[in-house]
């Protein structure tokens, strides 16, 4: 019998899976590996602070996104985003978003310009696919200890003050999601950070993580966890947040991906020249 490439035999093997089941499973795992490798790529190393990021999909693959892009002037461009939907469709759009960010980061001067350029590049495709992406983009300047950020419909990062018992949202800046309206112009806002301050970027999957009783983790628990562990390094704070969420959810399946990015400032000043832009490790 002739079979083309689209024809599968629906006969079950001893393990109860058809050939199509097995092919799909293998391809989803390959897609998961691709996404995981792209997402958990190199982290920039620089004087005057440290960054770290991690993402856990609710399904095999997810639609959350974060990235670091070291700029030649010594700044680090950070982005975190959440693609509408879940699973494979969201993962495909996440890869599209990553490409748009990397290309925009290279050619734009500020986080707002990056978001403006990304909306310009992605709007038509996202409308065709009836989708959208929320993004928050920030530049950390180790030379001036300034964080400049712009928002496209994403929840505001948390600002954990190193020398005070305070965790609060970064000052509000508005901007609509990428893919919502054409020709959007986004705005920047800057704040001065100090020694031992931490900025926690995240997606709503963290505060909406649910336990078996359908209770949510909520912002209050996140703030408490960050307050209790703020003296630690970024990698350890990240682990503490994940452990706290896991303890709360007790293995309950999650509806949404969980993603966080941390930036922590240390007193050590960088001597920025064009030759010592951040390294990727």
């Amino acid at each position: 019998m002739y079979k083309d490439g689209m024809t599968y035999v629906h006969q079950k093997n001893s393990d109860g899976l058809t050939i199509m089941d097995k092919t799909l499973k293998r391809e989803i795992n390959l897609a998961r590996n691709i996404q995981s490798q792209l997402l958990n790529g190199k982290t920039p190393v620089f004087d005057g602070g440290e960054v770290s990021g991690s993402s856990v999909p609710a399904r095999l693959i997810g639609g959350d996104y974060y990235d670091f892009y070291p700029l030649v002037n010594g700044k680090i461009r950070i982005v975190i985003g959440d693609v509408m939907g879940k699973g494979i469709p969201a993962a495909m759009l996440m890869i599209l978003t990553r490409g748009a960010f990397r290309s925009a980061a290279e050619t734009t001067k500020s986080p707002a310009d990056t978001l403006t350029s990304m909306n310009q590049a992605l709007y038509a495709d996202l409308r065709t696919l009836k989708s959208f992406v929320t993004l928050l983009c920030a530049d950390w300047d180790p030379e001036t200890s300034t964080l400049t950020y712009a928002n496209a419909g994403h929840n505001l990062p948390l600002y954990i003050k190193g020398k005070e018992q305070v965790v609060q949202e970064l000052p509000k800046i508005k901007g609509i999601m990428v893919g919502g309206l054409p020709n959007q112009v986004y705005n920047n806002h800057s704040i001065q950070l100090h020694d031992k301050d931490t900025v926690f970027f995240y997606t709503d999957g963290i505060i909406e993580a649910q336990n078996h009783n359908k209770e949510q983790y909520k912002l209050e628990r996140l703030v408490q966890t960050l307050m209790e562990n703020k003296q630690k390094c970024v990698g350890d704070i990240e682990k503490c947040v994940m452990e706290s969420i896991e303890k709360f959810t007790e293995g309950a399946p999650q509806r949404d991906d969980i993603t966080m990015v941390l930036l922590k400032i240390s007193d050590q000043k960088a001597e920025i020249t064009s030759l010592n832009s951040p390294l990727m490790k």
Partner: protein, 105 residues
């Protein structure tokens, strides 16, 4: 049922009262109601019975906003609780609604 939609038609106005969750598992229930709004001047989406909305649900509301231009009706949103209002405000849904001459009532 995770989501029910109650439809009320008064002349050229349709009110869609949603009850339950608008998420990735239920948007296929609400979308057909929005597709059949030909000839309507006003469509009111009533969220008084909404328990939860995720990003796919917000995508459906966005599609309704775009559809209002295509089918020439005014979309109005009502009965939005504080939590949903925060989400709509964060993502910028109200700006899109305004750009398409819709409103929150």
């Amino acid at each position: 049922m995770l989501l029910t939609v109650e439809k009320e038609v008064q002349n050229v106005t349709t009110i869609l009262k949603v009850k339950g969750l608008i998420d990735i598992t239920t948007t296929n229930i609400i979308e057909p109601y929005l597709e059949e709004m030909d000839g309507m001047e006003t469509v009111i989406l009533d969220f008084s019975g909404l328990e939860f909305i995720d990003s796919t649900g917000i995508g459906s509301i966005m599609n309704a906003i775009y559809l209002s231009r295509e089918k020439n009706f005014t979309l109005k949103l009502q009965g939005i609780d504080e939590m949903t209002n925060d989400v709509f405000e964060t993502v910028g849904l109200y700006e899109i609604l305004e750009a398409f001459h819709g409103e929150v009532i």
